[in-house]
Amino acid sequence: MNALYFKYILIITLCFDFNAHLFSRDHASFNSLVPDHSRVQYAGSMGMVSLSIGYQYWQHRLEMDLILGYIPKQYGFDIPFMFTLKQSIIPIKWKLSNAIYVQPLTFGFYINRVHGNRFYMQLPSQYPDGYYWWQNEVRFHVFIGFRLGKLELNQAMPFHSVEWFGEFHTNDLYICSSLNNSRLGLKDIMKFTTGLKFNFRSAYKPIH
């Protein structure tokens, strides 16, 4: 997928989120830029470990995360940081008990960008036009996942609930690789990621 597609997706996503931010925040925020949640995540093709801040829209059916990932240089990255923008949709929430709830289905996409000598958005000049049809700085991922949450009853904590999440994800290059053959299936192209999400006290409560 060339860079232009990602630019369009990014611009459309940001416009959508900006609109959601203005019109669908359910709580009376004294400062609507205060994040609703924060995540710490392991793997996910956005770094070895990553931290995010995020916003929730439409009674927490839509989430946006701004993610900073760290990957040690030994894994091939001269610049060990990378940035990811993530959109999650959470259509279902179930209460299991007074303190436990589950979001059995989450899905969405994210756009990840790396920097470094060996990465580029536009083909360097030594190549004829269109020599390689993809670029290697930006990757587009899709995911499907689940979350298990617990209300935090200790009022001294800054978050009202904490969720453990797991997601299965893949990206545009893996999907392309799997399309023209029978050898590669979902099991080959899917990766797994996991982490914890902390919902701040200012955010919409996941269950009543």
Partner: protein, 265 residues
């Protein structure tokens, strides 16, 4: 319904053990990669005694053609007399770790020893770091019996045509410094290819033409077969097709006399 919501994550938990973690698509995650595959296969080769007749198979440009490569491996395994199989480069499309692993999963089923040369696609992004760990140096040379094999990196386009690749000083030294009766020279991008560094083409051809022991020259990259032998008398100078064309080259070298067969599978 509620019970399902408990069971589902647990079930997925079970499945997750089959899925890997990935730090980034372009990661070089050495704990997930086999190491020094060319070196290991060379050791295997050198435990066999080389006879006067050398039987080689050339494959190349298996990038993304997983089904065809799987069939090709099956067919190669039916050939009883292969001494060595040489992959002339482009085992991946994007130079990413997962592709290297997918392709290795298929190629590792070959019975005969396999040596893999890096193609231009294999060197993209972090590909050279992966290749270097998984296979070894991009240019290397070894002797087996009275045969001298020279594998030279000719992917100049990936180095911005800066003159460092192909390393002509190294190549000339390897060609000159051998008591071998037969030289087999392998590369990914051949000198007649438009992607070969145009500033180095004439030098390359004049250097290799100086050595009468040069019995076989092989390249790939273009995805179709071509025979350049008429330009180089007494040498089999061949361009290999890709896995998708469902053919590979089988070469027999007896004394200084070389014959080849385009094997269809």
């Amino acid at each position: 319904m509620k019970r399902l919501s408990i069971v589902t994550p647990i079930f997925l938990l079970g499945w997750l053990t089959a899925c890997d973690f990935e730090y980034h698509v372009n990661e070089v995650h050495k704990s997930m990669l086999p190491a020094n595959l060319n070196g290991n296969n060379l050791l295997r080769l050198q435990q066999q005694k080389a006879s006067d007749t050398l039987t080689l198979a050339f494959i190349g440009d298996t990038q993304g053609f997983y089904d065809d490569t799987r069939d090709m491996v099956g067919h190669l395994n039916t050939q009883p007399d292969l001494d060595l199989i040489i992959h002339l480069g482009d085992i991946t499309n994007f130079g990413i770790q997962e592709e290297y692993l997918w392709m290795n999963d298929i190629l590792s089923k070959l019975k005969a020893p396999l040596l893999v040369i890096a193609g231009n696609h294999d060197l993209l992004a972090n590909g050279e770091l992966i290749y270097d760990y998984m296979y070894g140096p991009t240019s290397f040379t070894f002797s087996w019996g009275k045969n001298r094999f020279i594998m030279v990196n000719t992917n100049s386009i990936e180095y911005g045509f800066d003159g460092s690749v192909p390393d002509m000083e190294w190549l000339t030294d390897q060609l000159a410094d051998t008591l071998a009766q037969r030289i087999i020279l392998c590369m990914h991008i051949g000198p007649y290819d438009e992607d070969f560094d145009p500033a180095m083409r004439d030098t390359f051809l004049s250097v290799i033409n100086q050595f009468p022991q040069l019995a076989i020259v092989a390249n790939a990259h273009r995805h179709y077969f071509q025979d350049f032998s008429s330009l180089h008398p007494n040498t089999c100078f061949l361009q290999n097709a890709c896995a998708n064309t469902r053919e590979y080259l089988k070469i027999t070298l007896t004394g200084q006399h070389c014959t080849y067969e385009r094997v269809v599978f």
